[in-house]
């Protein structure tokens, strides 16, 4: 897996390869963090503690700035049950119990490269949760295929929603700000002081705002939403894609970066930044098993 990504990167324009490698490294680091923290989760650990564990793990490895601070959701909060206000996304004192699903979501920035990942798990065996995780695979394939077809983002969004409905799930990324299924990420300037506002890094927010301004002039948006402002073909760049399934108090998602280029070649026009991620490995294992 790893070598194939490397090969493809090296085949690309020389200037772009090291940049993508930077993004890939920080994404891997984030997933390593998620797996490490998930391994330490025990009954009685609270969301706040889980968020702190992620923060400290990444800080020890050099992360100083964030696209957003780590989130942790336990139990029915993984499906955003009864979420009305954005403040409800922040970690609470909800304690983990046996059989509870959980989601860790973090967006560290390392050396100016941004990652934004989501990791779903369950404390103890749960056939239902396994089912949700397995069903996410179809969404990963669908989104890549339709992005390569250059379908308008709003239509892809609706196709994902339809697939979820067919599977019997509800679309829970609709609960995110602007109902986004994805958003653009980019390099940010490294500053000695990297403050956050409402959990989001100010540098990243600045980048997003400037993208929004450019996009507004050119007819695109850095937010991939169900609304009219997303009624445009995929914009080249790095998109952090996060389809989020909900089913009666159980939620599951993955989040990773989709690279969209302006290449005419189908394979090159869009591809996942990395295929060696926990959820992708899990699907491969299930297939061989």
């Amino acid at each position: 897996m790893t070598t194939s990504v490397d090969d493809r990167l090296s085949a690309r324009r020389a200037g772009r390869a090291p940049e993508l490698r930077g993004f890939r490294e920080v994404q891997r680091l984030a997933y390593e963090c998620a797996e490490a923290v998930a391994g330490q989760l025990r009954p009685g650990v609270s969301e706040r503690e889980a968020a702190r564990m992620q923060r400290e793990w990444l800080r020890e490895r050099g992360v100083r700035d964030w696209f957003h601070l780590p989130f942790a959701w336990f139990g029915d909060r993984t499906a955003f049950t009864n979420f009305r206000f954005p403040l409800q996304f922040f970690p609470t004192n909800r304690k983990l119990e046996p059989g509870m699903p959980f989601i860790l979501d973090m967006a560290p920035i390392l050396n100016g490269y941004t990652a934004d990942i989501g990791y779903s798990g369950c404390l103890g065996p749960s056939p239902l949760h396994d089912r949700l995780l397995a069903d996410l695979e179809a969404h990963r394939e669908l989104m890549l295929r339709e992005v390569r077809e250059r379908r308008p983002l709003r239509e892809i969004y609706e196709d994902v929603e339809r697939l979820m409905a067919r599977q019997g799930y509800t679309n829970r990324h609709r609960a995110y700000p602007f109902g986004v299924i994805a958003h653009k990420v980019d390099r940010v300037k490294q500053r000695r002081w990297a403050p956050t506002a409402f959990g989001f890094g100010t540098q990243s927010l600045r980048g997003l705002a400037s993208d929004a301004l450019h996009g507004h002039r050119e007819g695109w948006s850095p937010l991939w939403s169900p609304y009219r402002f997303s009624d445009h073909p995929p914009q080249p760049g790095l998109w952090a894609v996060e389809p989020h399934l909900g089913f009666r108090g159980v939620g599951a998602k993955f989040e990773e970066i989709l690279v969209v280029t302006d290449s005419k070649d189908l394979e090159e026009s869009a591809f996942w930044l990395d295929d060696d991620l926990p959820h992708v490995r899990r699907w491969a294992e299930e297939k061989t098993a």
Partner: protein, 609 residues
Amino acid sequence: MEANAVASSTGAQGTVATGALAGATERWVSTGGVQLCVAELGDRERPTVVLVHGFPDSKEVWSEVAKRLADRFHVVLYDLRGCGRSSAPKPLRGGYTLEKLTDDFLAVADAVSPNAPVHLVGHDWGSVQGWEFATVGRTEGRIASFTTMSGPCLDHLGIWLHKRATRPTPRRVGQLFGQGIKSWYVYAFHTPVVPEALWRGPLARAWPALLSRVEKTPARGEPGGDYPTSSLPTDGARGVWMYRDNVRARLRRPRTDAYAHVPVQLIHPTGDVFVSEQVFDDLDQWAPQLTRRSLVAKHWAPRTRPDQISAWIAEFVTTVEDGTPARKPRATSQYAARFGGQLVLVTGAASGIGRATAFAFAEAGARVVAVDRDAEGAARTAEMSRLIGAPEAWSEQVDVSDGLAMEKLANKVADTYGVVDVLVNNAGIGVSGAFMDTSPEHWQQVLDVNLWGVIHGCRTFGKQMADRGQGGHIVNTASAAAFQPTRMLPAYATSKAAVLMLSECLRAELAGKGIGVSAICPGIVNTNITTTTRFVGVDREEEQRRRTRSTRLYGKRNYPPEKVADAILRAVARNQAVVPVTPEARGAHLLSRFAPKALRALARLEPKG
């Protein structure tokens, strides 16, 4: 265990019984100066289930339940002392204390199952004494589980009353008063001589007709109508001593250590006129391993609902025998007590409200049959239902507008899964556009699915339900368009108005059979009905445009089908007739009654092109 030492048996062979318990072997067990008549059914190697009757009954009250359990268990029934064919203690006064009834039970248990503990089931006074058996020390190791119906523990009741009398709040006073009224007959039985005279005279003569009229038990000549038996006058006249010997003593000085030492299953008939549900509010503290069930039935549920009761007893006994009594049921819903183990059939279950309803029932532990034209979607619904708590779930592909296919399905379901307890006729399609643009084919199509689908469902499954005569519920999905006229939906609204009226008429017809009928009027709910709706009078392109637009509009309204499913479960649990769900549906329902002119004005609004 001294009492058991005096017990002797007439031999394990016994004689073959006739009447309501035809086929059972009967024998006599003597204990404490009385001879108890004990009947046995089924294989003696299987787990033993002892069914204890109440007042004024004999063991035959359990005959229908016993027949249904006999293929899986060793079923034992006995006449309490003085009842049925058992002999009475002399003198009667003081011969009916719970201690003596416990001696009787132990003697029977030792005679029928000397080596293994028995599963105890009690109804009415059988349950009252069952609580005594399940909570006193000397029966430990002789009982494996206890299923209680319509009979609280006198000690628990004493403490319950005391708590409400000494620390009154308006609610507690209300509860005290409510149960106080329900217990009127208990005071009456403390009058000397008169109750006996009544039971030996006019009351016993009137009793069978009274039971079948008020309690809806099967009348003479109907299947299961071979009850009460001829021993009724003595059952009633001697049985009053159970009240006189125990009620005052136990309520005044209740035992404070009456904790159940076995897993307990409480089956509460919601229409019981003698025992209110609040009596069991604190039961969890007395019975640590408690499974709650609630049943739409009156007091004599063993006569009127034998299928459901025997199914619950069998499930509970099997769970305990398997050695996992502490395991909590997987069903997590607040309706688990009401729908656990029931068979629910939902049409249009591949998407939207139907699917959400199937899931909601699955979460309540019901067995689900998901029916839809879309086989793949229905299969998916069944699969997910199993993952969230349905013990079993199946999918069936059927077009509800096809009468023959529905009949076939009904036969198949009855043969393989059983008679449906809750039927949800939900499948429906949309047609939008002016009346003048709606062709006869469009009319045919929408009426075939929306109206005839419901008619076929009610005719086939509803008939099975009515024939079984053990209650049930039918839910028909109508629409807010059933009472909100609109120029945009003439065909659809007509079909749904018909469904609403059909439901109301059927409700009246089936009320006497204990079958409820509810019409659900959801309103604007975020489902895929908009993506399949036919928009008549416009070309294909415009139709597609309108579909997309209405889908987005419904998406913006974003009323989840799960809330409609909750409303459906609530409607079944409360037996509601017409249930508008969304706020706009409730508003329209209100306006249709108080300001129909306003609705007519709304009906004239034309959508923006």
